[in-house]
């Protein structure tokens, strides 16, 4: 299948690949998917005292769409408040990357990873 230019760009030049210290109080980590399903996404956010996402990193085991979805998600997360971040919808990712129907689950995974990272941060910080 042919992928969109945007998707290919995120795949070839993924933004924000890396690892944040998951033990830091200011870091929230979301780990979703499973190796036997063919995709695992780890998305991390670092949140300022004011509640703004200052940094976001990801690592993803998966297909091109999964990698592009997580790269895009980290870009969108930076500078957002937790509430704004929590409202990112998987369909926004589908639209931006022009994901074909068979790849929609990659965007769902990204949304789940965002929500899980926010939840992890909130639980750590009692917010």
């Amino acid at each position: 299948m042919a992928y969109s230019e945007k998707l290919l760009d995120h795949f070839k030049n993924p933004k924000n690949v890396g690892t944040l210290d998951k033990n830091k109080k200011s870091v929230g980590t979301g780990l979703v998917g499973a190796p036997e399903c063919g995709d695992v996404m780890r998305l991390q956010i670092e949140v300022s005292e004011e509640g703004v996402i200052e940094d976001a990193k990801f690592k993803t085991f998966g297909c091109g769409s999964a990698i592009a979805s997580s790269s895009l998600a980290t870009e969108w997360l930076k500078g957002k408040s937790l509430d704004e971040a929590g409202s990112i919808d998987n369909m926004d990712i589908v639209e931006e990357l022009a994901l074909p129907p068979v790849k929609i689950h990659c965007s769902v995974l990204a949304e789940d990873a965002i929500k899980m990272a926010i939840k992890d941060y909130r639980e750590k910080n009692g917010k």
């Binding site: 998917g33 499973a34 063919g38 690592k59 998966g62 297909c63």
Partner: protein, 426 residues
């Protein structure tokens, strides 16, 4: 006759450098389809325009000429597998030949029994035809294979009952290249008095296939896996000792002695014949050269990368194929790192419409994670030696890049036991 100068317009003058598509793109997907050999294309061209006859037209020269060409091609094809030309039924491809064999035998021998035995690793054309047989009231046993991808002969023998009419075992697997012990299976079938069919699509034209010596009664194969054109295949049906019959699955004008109605694809059949003739002469040398290249590719990747697994038997295997899992890297993502340079295929779910990884690799006992991480490299007659060196670099770099992106690779390197993690399966 149509004027000759027209043909010149169609004459292809392909030299070796223009052979396929884009010269920078390495084609390692010869198990999906092979490029049509330029010699085959040249043989086919006169049969589109200069000689347009229907091989079934008995009343004029156009028809006679076409029929002659088909007869000659039938000899060439039969000769490749050392059978009589009368034992070859031309079809539209291997899928149709598989269907004709399985459904045709099931219907023909319904008085004797209704049971078919096959393997879990067969091609979908066989498995889905067997599924149809079950819907028609038949019973099908799907045998497991071992870690090497090989059938257990004792299990196979024990599965045969007095209701068994057919054993269907593919000669060589399309995904792994694993070759089944055909002669031993043939002996079991002869001893038990059941028919033996083989989908030999991946084997014919690449390794010696001799159904008479092997005890195989029906064989399906196709031109486009042996450097011939797409859209033409054949079913070999043994005529003597035993005389095997199938019920036709296509009704119509009674072509192919009533076994397969439909106007013959004359240019395709001529090309199939030429491809068979070339294969007979060249397959030994091709196999020798390609196995050296395949082994070089495999060895270099194993040396340069950690956690590399070759799937299936390494001894009973087609000379031009390797199926490799690169642990903690997903196959489709990996392919995307090099698919501007190399064409391969993957057993990852992401390359199929379903979300399941390759059922063939799962049947070998690979975990789903390793099946998702698999890449099939299938070399071919037109593979150049230097392409192997380029491919080694591209693949090794791709795997390293994808592992840098992979959270489970990071965990593995940190010594985390991945089985201890509560994954969120979805």
């Amino acid at each position: 006759m149509l004027s000759l100068h027209c043909i010149c317009l169609f004459k292809l003058n392909l030299n070796n450098e223009e052979r396929y598509m884009d010269n920078n793109l390495i084609y390692f997907d010869n198990n999906a389809t092979t490029p049509c050999d330029p010699r085959v294309v040249d043989a086919m061209l006169p049969w589109f325009y200069q000689n347009p006859g229907n091989a079934a037209s008995r009343s004029h020269a156009f028809g006679w000429k076409a029929e002659e060409a088909v007869d000659y091609a039938r000899e060439q094809v039969a000769n490749l597998i050392s059978v009589e030309s009368k034992e070859i039924i031309f079809t539209s491809g291997a899928t149709e030949a598989d269907n004709l064999a399985i459904k045709g035998v099931f219907e023909m021998y319904s008085r004797k029994g209704n049971h078919i035995i096959t393997l879990k690793t067969e091609h979908k054309a066989v498995l889905d035809a067997c599924d149809r047989v079950e819907k028609m009231g038949g019973e099908v046993t799907y045998l497991d294979v071992d870690r090497e991808g090989l059938v257990n002969l004792e299990e196979l023998e024990n599965a045969i009952t007095d209701k068994t009419v057919l054993v269907s075992v593919m000669w060589a697997n399309n995904e792994t290249g694993v070759i089944q012990p055909m002669k031993e299976i043939g002996e079991i079938c002869a001893r038990k008095g059941v028919l033996f069919f083989s989908d030999a699509t991946q084997a014919v034209g690449k390794i010696p296939v001799n159904p008479k010596e092997t005890g195989v009664h029906l064989i399906a194969f196709t031109a486009h896996k042996m450097y011939g054109p797409k859209g033409v295949g054949a079913l070999f049906v043994n005529r003597k000792k035993p005389r095997v019959k199938v019920v036709a699955q296509m009704d119509g004008g009674g072509h192919e002695r009533g076994m397969r109605s439909g106007t013959l694809n004359v240019p395709g059949i001529v090309g199939f014949g030429k491809a068979a003739e070339i294969a007979k002469q060249e397959m030994e040398a091709d196999a020798k050269r390609l196995s050296v290249l395949r082994d070089k590719l495999e060895k270099a990747l194993e040396e340069r990368l950690e956690e590399v697994y070759v799937n299936g038997s390494r001894t009973n295997r087609m000379p031009h194929v390797t199926n490799i899992s690169f642990k903690h890297v997903e196959g489709e993502g990996l392919m995307m790192t090099f698919n501007e340079n190399i064409a391969v295929s993957s057993g990852s779910a992401c390359t199929s419409a379903s979300l399941e990884p390759s059922y063939v690799l799962v049947a070998l006992g690979l975990g789903d994670d390793l099946a998702h991480s698999s890449i099939r490299f299938s070399l071919g007659r037109f593979t150049k030696d230097e392409e192997i060196d380029r491919a080694i670099d591209l693949v090794a770099n791709g795997v390293t890049h994808m592992r840098d992106l992979s959270p489970i690779w990071e965990m593995y390197k940190e010594g985390v036991d991945l089985d201890s993690i509560q994954w969120e399966a979805h």
